[in-house]
Every structure is written in C-alpha cells, then in structure tokens.
Symmetry: D2
C-alpha cells in the first residue's frame, strides 16, 4: 500500500517531535512536510529542532527543510502540534484549503461541529465532519484530540460508563513535566516539590468529557450529564500522568464486574486493527502499588492506560488509579490514532 503523505505543523516543539518520532516508519503515513514558525522555516529539521524526546531524531527527517505553516504543504493530512496562541487561524486555513487536520491544540475542541475524538470512545462523532464542511464551506476539516489528562480518564472510565453508568467523577492528577512542554517547569520549581496548580487544566478536565461522552443528535452533540471535579498537580516525573479517581455509578457493580469490564474492553480501533491501537486499551494491574509512572507508562507503547487499586470508596462508590502516557496517548499518539480512524473510515479519500 502506498503511504499517505502527511505534514506536521509545529514540528519543532516537543509534541511536534513526538509526532516525528511516532510517525517514523508508520505503515500508513509518510512524513513529507515539516512546518513551524518563521524563525525555523528554511532551516533543516536538525538545525531547527532541539531534540528533547527519547532517542535520536529519525534520519529520514534530519535533512528535511522546515517550511512555514501555510497551506501549501505537499501532503493531504496535517497533524497540528501548534501552541494555542497560534493554532486557531492556521488550522482553519489548512482545513479551508482542503487538508484534513488532526489537531492536538485546544482551540477548536469545543466548536460544536468539530469532533473531540477518542477512537475507542466516540468514533461516531466523526459524523460531525460533514456538518463542519458544509457549514464552513471547507474542502477539508478539523478533528481534535482531548487534553492529556482528559484522554486517559475518559478512556479508562469508558467501560464503566457503558456497563454501569457514571454519575460523578472526582479526579486528582499528578502530572508529569513533559505535559508542560519544553522548557516548561524550571528545575528549581519542582525539585523537592509539588505544584498544586496547572493553569486552565482543571477547566479542561471538567468540560471535555461531557462533549466526548455526549450523544450525536442530528448535527449536534448533546453533552453527557456527569459531574466532574478535578484537582491538578505537577510532580517531578518525566512522563506519565497519574490520576487518583473516585466515581459514583448509576448502577450497582461488584469488584469483579468492574475489573472484568476494564480488562475485556475492546472497541472499534482494536476491531479495525488500527496500527497505533493497543491490543488492550486498558491494562489492569493487581499489585497493591501499581500503576506507577516510571514502571507502567510504556504499556502498549504508551497507548494503553493502566488501571490499578480498584476498591470501594466510602464517599462516592469506587476508587481507582489511572495512568497514561501524556505525550503518547495524551497527545501525539492520540492524534495519530484519530488519523488512522479517519483513514479506515474513508475520510481521507
């Protein structure tokens, strides 16, 4: 099969580098364009990007010349790792010009006609694409992926929602440094410390799941009714967000039923055998002290979420720990999985 040419917007930043890393050797996609700010345009990628993700930059991209973020890139699909200050109009320009845009930026997440997509959870929201193209008179379109803390939370709780219903969620995050990009959090601020605040994060975690779990009714998403409270913290880990979660369910469940629902969960990406889809979207650890960021973040190549410590909650119904790789499942990997679903469902032809 011929690989589909793809570009990366914001290719030199940390999330952009993760796109480069994860797309190297991808069976369906081939990087044919790297775009970034005017400061980088014209340089080789090796010159323009200070590589901060594990390993070395793939050879195939090192000598590619970085282009500016204008909709004349030699590809059909672009992944956007642009910062929120820039992503809005650029992504729109690409979509208008006929590109499919798989974005990691927050700018269009709440647009009523833009899917906020987790392929295992709400693949039917792709139905919004036609609405979006029609309303906006665009040749192309935008799909977005969720905030990193949201993505792993919603994926891990999806089997419980389906089986038992979700009334309320209290989530306390302990988020890794890479979630703040590079340079991000100063070493002096986080050594021997925890920072109990991440600007804008709690709002995202409390809002995004309602759209993701919403019902597509005609041309609209009817938001899901679930109460969510988030407390977000930055801790001294490299990768892997850990979440201490309590949930109230709509229906009674036993521990065995909950664990079975989590372990047996498979969804459309697994059925379609999308290249980035983990065989087991949710891995349940039985040891009392797991998941741990350093030990478990690579599960499923960073695309699985790892759940542990499922137990009764005296205040809500159940409590559990959820771990996800924030820069893989929670960012670049999630957006790539979105694009794989687009391709498999015929949205890229």
């Amino acid at each position: 099969m011929e690989r589909i040419p793809v570009g990366i917007l914001g290719a030199t930043g940390m999330v952009g580098q993760w796109f480069v890393k994860l797309l190297a050797g991808h069976p369906w996609f081939e990087i044919t364009a790297l775009a970034a700010s005017a400061r980088s345009a014209g340089k080789t990628y090796a010159e323009a990007a200070t590589w901060v993700v594990p390993g070395e930059p793939p050879k195939a991209v090192r000598e590619m010349v970085v282009e500016s973020c204008e909709p004349h890139l030699p590809c059909r699909l672009v992944f956007s790792a642009l910062p929120a200050e820039e992503a809005g109009p650029i992504e729109e320009a690409f979509a208008a010009a006929g590109y499919a845009v798989s974005s990691n930026a927050r700018n269009h997440r709440y647009d009523p006609d833009v899917p906020l997509l987790i392929p295992e959870v709400n693949p039917d929201h792709l139905g919004l694409i036609e609405v979006q193209k029609r309303r906006r008179r665009w040749q192309g379109f935008i799909v977005t992926c969720a905030n990193c803390s949201t993505a792993q939370l919603v994926l891990a709780l999806e089997p419980l929602r389906r089986a038992f219903g979700l009334r309320a969620i209290n989530v306390v995050t302990m988020q890794a440094l890479s979630g703040a990009g590079y340079p991000g959090v100063p070493g002096l601020s986080i050594l021997d410390n925890v920072i109990p605040y991440i600007p804008g994060e709690e709002e995202k975690v409390e809002r995004e799941p309602k759209k993701i779990w919403g019902m597509l009714q005609g041309e609209e998403i009817a938001e899901a009714k679930v109460e969510i409270s988030a407390h977000c913290h930055r801790v001294a880990t490299r990768d892997g967000h850990l979440e201490a979660v309590s949930v109230a369910l709509e229906r009674e469940a036993t521990l065995e039923e909950i664990v079975a629902a989590l372990e047996e969960f498979r969804s459309l990406p697994q059925k379609l055998e999308l290249p980035s889809a983990p065989a087991r979207p949710i891995v349940v650890r039985k040891e009392p002290d797991r998941p741990q960021p350093r030990l478990d973040r690579e599960e499923g190549g960073g695309m699985s979420v790892v759940v542990g410590r499922v137990r009764r909650c005296p205040v809500l119904d159940w409590k559990l720990e959820i771990l996800g790789h924030n820069t893989v499942r929670g960012a670049a990997g999630g957006a790539i999985l979105n694009a794989e679903l687009l391709l498999a469902q015929g949205y890229l032809s």
Copy 2:
C-alpha cells in the same frame, strides 16, 4: 520555672531525632533520658544515632548515654517515637509505672480509653485519662497523636466542621519521603516516579478523624458521623504532605465565610499560649499555586497547616489544598504540643 525532666523512647530513629531537635531549648521540658533498643543502649547518643534531620544534633545530648526502654528512666514524662512493632507493651509498662506517655505510635490510638489528641480540636478528650487510669489501675497514662496525614487534615477542616458541619471528605495525599522514616523509600523507587500506595495509611486517615471529632459522652467517645475516603501517594519531596481535599458540608457557606473561618480559627493552645502552638494554626494562601511543600512547610515553625485554592467542587461542595509538615505537626511537634497541653491542664503534677 524549673523545667520538667522528660525522656524519649526510640530516640535514635528519625522521629526520635525530631523530638531531640524540637525539645532542645524547650522552655518547659528538659531532656534527661534517651532510650532506644538494646543495640543502642550503652552508647553515647552521637554514636548510636545516624542523624538525618536538618542541622546538627544539639550539643546537650551528644554525650548522653542511651538507655534501654525500661520504666526506670529519670523523668516523669516520656515521648514515644517507638516503631509500632515495639511500642505497645513498652508504652504500657511506662504508663503502669507512673509515667505520662505522649506517643506518636499508632498502637493505642483506637483504645477507647486513650485520647487521640489534637490540642486545637479535641482537648476535652483529656477527660479519658481518668477513665484510663482507673480502668487499667495505672499510675501514669498514655495520650496519642494522630497519623501525620490525619493530623493536618483534621486541623485544617476543624473550623469548617464547627461552622458548617462536615458530611463527607475525599482526600488524596501526596506524602513526603520523611513520612516513611529512614532509610524508608529507596531512591531508585521514587526518582521520576509516584507510588500510589502506602501500607495502612488510607485506613488510618479514614478512621482516626471519626474518633478525634467524636463526642466524649461519659466514659466513651461516640464517633463522629462523617464519610471519609483517602487515596495515599508517596512523592519525591523531603518534608511536607500535600492533600487535595473535597468536602461536603452540612450547611451552605460562601467562599468568604470559609476563608474567614479558616483564617480566624484559634483554639485552646493559642489561648493558653502553649510554647509550640503556632499563632495561626491555619494560614490561608491566596496565590493560585500555593501551598507548595518546599515553600510552605516551615510555616509556623512547621506547626501551622497551610491552606490554599479554596473553590467550589462540582461533585462535593468545596475543594481545597492542605499542606502540613509531617514530621513536625504530624509527628514530634504534635506530640510535644500534646504534652504542653497536659502540663497546662494539670495532668503532669
């Protein structure tokens, strides 16, 4: 005023060292005995103790000879920093022999006739001492202090309980390494990591507040009715436990009322001007990113708790962050404050 001679049981361990440090130069108490296991007995304190708390061991104790933990120490009051495996019968032997025992061990916390004491919260529970002495036919007695995570939680929420009533508490802790003693958590386990489990900790945090907030009725404590759920984590900080807390109140409150209740809270130790009582038991920070362990743990000499980020909770009623110094307020400092209350209330004469 002549200072009261006091001893320390388990003086060579980390909590024992904190007792030594905090009692050096204490206006009411004078260390006259240091006791530890048979392995240490007979050595000087400088030889027996590998000093791991900040600063150097006080000169006054370096050449003191460590004694064994038998009730023949030259003092009237002993502070117990014994590990739980040893504390039970030793503390009982001292109490039986007429010593007042202010313990940091968990062994007797749930005994119905032993006060589990936070001086700002339940000083009236000292009434159990007479019951205890009578029932057990002891000349002396035992009072205990709460687990470190409990102590700061209960102290910080006490003004809300008094003013608005507490229905439910969800608490997620991010606890410092010093809470596990020395050597405690291996560096390899905690570097670039969070451990979502501390054996026995969640049970303590869910149980102890009910006794502390219980009502002394005749010779019994009637447990408080409040639902508590705890998720406990170990993080890479030296000192200072951070807690992300959500609470449900019995009565409506505004943000201003809650902050005022916290800031204005003073209690018996402040009124009695006990030497270790902080002027402000609860300090409220208004910045969005406080309290932080490294920046705020020394507040009030480690005896204040610091509260921040008070805000509405979509699931319960309010959420907030609570920070306390686990080895000061949550251990040695708390037990010393208990002893100061005992003296001020006439229990040491």
Copy 3:
C-alpha cells in the same frame, strides 16, 4: 551608628532577591533603593519580583517602588546583580557618578584596575581603587566578586597556598540549579540527569584565581602562576556547589598540617569582625561522606566553605572535596562582605 543607604541594581532577579534577603536587618547597610529593568520600574517590589529564594520577601521592601537603573538613586553604595548583558555600562555610569559599586557581574572582573575581591584572600587589592578612580576620572568605583565556583575554590585553598604553595589544581564541579538563575535549567533537562557543561564556566574558574592570587605591584596585578583545569557539571541540587579537587603543592605537607592550616585559617574579615564574615571561613568535616550539599551548605550562614575527604592523590599531591553556598558566599553574600570590607577600610566615606 547610622546605617548607610544602599541600592540594589537588578533587584528583581534571583541574585537580586538574595541581596534583599541578606541585607534585611543588616547592621551597617539599609536598603533605600531597588532598581531593575524598565519593565519593572514603577511597580512595587512585591509586584515586580517573583520571589524564588527561601522564605518570604522582607516586609520593609514589599511596598518600595522599583526604580530604573539610572545613577540617581538615593544611596551611596549599590550592589549589582545585573545580568552580564546589561551590567557593563550601567555599573560604569554609577561609578562615574560617584557611587561605590559592589558587583556580582562578570563584566569588569578582568579589568586591570578593578579588584576581583575575596576579603579573606586579597584585601590588599583594594589598592586598585585609587588607580581606577584616577585613570577613569571617576568619583566612585567598582569592585567585583568572583564567580561562584571560583570563590569557594580560592577561599578553601588559600591556607594551602599560604603554607605550602600551589602548583596545580584540577577541579570537577557539581553545581546547583540556583547557579543558573531562575527559570534556569528546565526540570525535564535535569531530572534523572547530569549535564556536563556550563557555558563559560570552565574559563572563569581557570582564569579568575590567577588574578585573585596575583600580587599587587605598583598599579598592576601580576597574575599568580598556578595551573588550573576545570570540568563543570550541573546536577539536581537546589543550592551548594560541590567540587572534587586535586592539588599539587610546592612544598611537602602532612595530612595533619593540611587540616590544621584549613581549620585554623582566619583572615582580615574575621579580625575586623565584619558582620557577614563567618567565624570559621573553612569548616573541615572528618566523616568520610561529607561535605554534602543538602547537609552542609548552610554552614556559617552560607558564608563558610566546608572541606572534607582530605587525602593523598596518586596523580597530583592531595585531593579533597569543597562545598560552598553558591548564592550566598558565591554571589550576594560575597558582594556584601566586599562592601563591608570597603566600609571598614574607609572606602565609603
């Protein structure tokens, strides 16, 4: 005694904050002016400075209005914490206008007529001040303090130089995060890592000691003849630079002689009882595993250097470990001690 009015240039940055902290309550100096970049000028200090050093900003300065760095400040002496990109002409303008400038910046360190001063080592270099004022036709003057890594190295080796002569020094530094200022080194770069490079640092450590140890001959400093090799590293510590040092001496020495020379070293600041002069400039630890940054950096209020592990070196003659507080002795504290020496020697009247 009336305190002398002093100003701080670059008062809002990290070293500026250390000046503020260390000058609060100083017996000889009183902060009467805080100056910083145009961006900060006009704001209160509390608004303009993101406080990153331990504790809270002193009350006396919080409401002071930050001024711009022009030589119209209401004081006679200014401490300069300006970055090297700005320090050069600003410090000159102040000196020209009659201010005494005690600088922490590197810009004028190598000027032949500017003292590079460590009061315990080369107080006689103050003789350059007259040369400087005459040559430059300035009413005021500039004195500089050494780079943080240099300052502790030179101070610790001074007694050996005096007693036995120094032929060669090999120094490998393990430097704290605060040495890079704030925000400085990203958390992502230093977690689970060591960075074996600090731009410009090795050059400074290899060059500055030759001037400091140089002989004032007429109007010139004749550089000392000593070979110095430096390897500089950044490690994940907050404060306190550790240096693994080997030295070749000109004359034979025994271990006892070396330790005695280090421990007994006192110099002019101790004789003059300058307020910031530590009683013991060099503290020798005998334990095999000291000095350690976290345990020993506060020695002498951060103004002492701590030496340990003195032992034979199979390649040069002796090896030892040296620790100093980089932001106290190695920056603000060093510059304050310089100013105290200026006052005591009559240079501020």
Copy 4:
C-alpha cells in the same frame, strides 16, 4: 545451533535481574537454572524476585523454581551476581565442580590466576584459565568482570593507551543509584543532594585498571604502570555513570588523532561479532553538552561507552567526559560479553 544451558547465581537481586533480562532471547545461551539464597529457594522466580529493572520479567522465567546456590545446577556456565559477602566460596565450589563461572563479584578480581576481563581490552588474559585450573586442580574456572566505574573508564581510554600511552589518569565519577543495588541509597539521602563517597569504590578504580592493562607474562600478569586517582560520587540518576577524566599521555597527540582513535576503535569482540558486542564500542558525541546519563546511557544497547568534550587539560594533557551504562556494560552485560568470548574462544567446550 543449540543454545548452551546457563544458570544465574544471585538471580533475584538487581544485577541478577539484569542477567535474566539480557539473557532472555539470547542467541547462544539459555537460562536453565536460577539460584539464590535459601530464603528464595523453592519459590517461583516471580514470587522470589521483586522486579526492579525496566520492563516486566520475561515469561520464560516467571514460573521457574529458584534453586539454592549449590553446584548441582543443570547447566555448564553460571553467571554470578552474588553479593561479595557470599560470592567467594560459592563461586569456588562451582568452578571446582566443573562449571565455568562468569562473575560480577569483586572477590576473585585480584587473584593472580583469575582473568579480570574486558573483551575489547585484554582478551589474551584468558590464558590465565589454564594456569588457574592447573594450580587449583579445578575442572571449571572463574573469570571476572571489572567494577562498573572501572569498566567504562578502561574501555574508553584503551584506544588512547594503544596509540599514545597513558601516564596518569584523574577520574571524578558521578554514579547512578542503580550502582548501589536495591534498595540501595535512600531517597531521603539523595534528593537535592550529592554524596561524595562510595565505600571501597575509589580503591577499585585505582587498582583494577593496572591488572586489566597488565601484560600476561608466563603465568603472571605484570601490572601496568599508570598513575590513577579517583574521586567517587553518588548522584540522583537512575542508570549511567558519568566520569570527568583528565589524562596524561606518553606521546603527543592532536585532538583529531584522539577523536579518530576513539571513533575507529574496534577490537576482538567486534571482529568475532559476539552477540552482545556493540558495533561501536566507543561513540564520540561532538555537542558541547554531551554525554548526558539520561540521553546517552542506552547507546549500543547499553554496551557502548559514550565520550564527549575532548579538550586540552591545563594540568594533565587532555580532558574528556565518559558515560557508560553501569548495570549493562558495567555489570551483567559485561559478564555476558565475557562468556560470549569464552564460547567463541573454545573455553566452554
């Protein structure tokens, strides 16, 4: 080719786990026996070993029953990860009983008839095996690998020794936590700290290279004449020892010659294409700030050493930074490479 059955002594500890990990899927060796202390014997490996190395324990070993360390194991070769307190007589018993022993323990390193082997450096020292067997009347024999800090130092400097001669070496190590085993260094000891002392380490680094670089003359190794001075430190990294090294050469060299010697170095293991031999034993990085432990420790699967910052030294001749993976090249991987050389050279038949 049929794989050779091998056993692991001390299989449950950290180095033992690295043996298990690195031998899983090895083309020449097959784990057929896991042995450990009496406490573990009889349990499955999954029960007996608290897995602390990256990833999960290989499936093939999980259900293997751990045996005691007696010379009745079903294999011909044993790898020893025993602690020094136990390794001595156990390794001897296995060698006497006919096993080939490839040991990571220090006990026999200095025995005159036991090779202290780095296959790229002194493969001819295998000639001692015949001496050893004859003198001790053993059917089997022992070969040892060097201390972790030694191994990477000697390997990295070998090309310089061959090309230019080595007169003197000054090495300052910054060693990872895993070098101390598990649990090893307490988190409380190393957070925000560097420990300038590792018991026994400097002696090993100063002594072992002289044997490794020694000349096999008849039945003896004549020690190499080179002066070595070591300063050893523990830092807060997981894996990867960093060494700041200065060397004095016997002959003049240019920077280009030195870099070429390092980069072009290949030796017997590369020629024989031993499975664990890295294609490039020494990788030279040209960036000013490399090697870094976190970025470079996995080079060559942890079997390459990475060198950077080669530059003139004002005191000796040249300075450079050397990084190696202490638990791979410096322990289990080194001992496996030794065994591969034994097999390739006919010592296992």
